[in-house]
Subunit: 150 residues, 2 copies
């Protein structure tokens, strides 16, 4: 794990903590372009009453708006938990360069667990997928959240 990846994942963890405070499943994401965070957000599914308002989706939309283009070439996305199928599909469409996630999601994960969508040779875009950066911190937030719900 590089110090650089850890640095940006910490920012994603802070977003996940914000989600927790807002009573949302605590997943956070940041997009990095040109060495800087260009967009950051967290899961807002409940607040927005929108099943699509995952952290990654909000960050991809925000990044497109900021860069004024839908192709996110040059962008690395950091997210605390492995993206689901929908978010992996969004990352393929967005043509990101690289994905870094913290902990795996064995139930919904589309990057490693259920499917390896970032690396499907049939897709028109593939990207590097790194995992395990601050995984324990990311997973712990999820466990605390679900424990608090029981």
């Amino acid at each position: 794990m590089s110090e650089r990846d850890k640095f940006f994942m910490k920012a994603a963890i802070r977003e996940a903590e914000r989600a927790f405070q807002e009573d949302e499943v605590p997943i956070g994401a940041v997009a990095v372009f040109d060495g800087k965070i260009i967009a950051s957000n967290h899961n807002r599914k409940e607040q927005l009453r929108d099943p699509l308002a995952h952290a990654e989706m909000l960050v991809v939309s925000e990044t497109s708006k900021k860069l004024e283009r839908w192709r996110l070439t040059g962008v690395t996305l950091y997210v605390t938990i492995e993206p689901c199928l929908m978010c992996m599909g969004a990352l393929i469409h967005s043509r990101i360069d690289r994905l870094v996630f913290g902990a795996r999601d064995p139930k919904f994960g589309g990057a490693k667990s259920l499917y390896e969508l970032g690396e499907d040779p049939r897709m028109n875009h593939r990207f590097e997928v790194a995992e395990g950066v601050m995984a324990e911190e990311a997973a712990q937030l999820m466990r605390s959240f679900f424990a608090s719900k029981r």
Copy 2:
């Protein structure tokens, strides 16, 4: 093909035609709840400069807002072209009852072509997938659009 499915697919085709007029890839979708169209939209990726602005995504968000809930139990989604991975992921999250699409998309399709995501037993939600309703009309719109671009 039931007359009912054909009726609603015609509305989705009209949305696709709107996309064509707006110089967007011509894909349209409608959501049906309680026998009526509750939301309809078309691909707006270029206009919104958003790689996530597929017809299905816009319709799912709109339907959630109208029903004031993110679970779209009771909803059937009609879309002119087979949904991609991202949209299939969104339909799983949304817990729709049924998906009806027109023509297959061999390059990106996640409902039948590349993956059969609506029927993956590992998912927490599965739904019926019907295909081929007004497929020729839907495919012809796509062919005309891409021919006009060359």
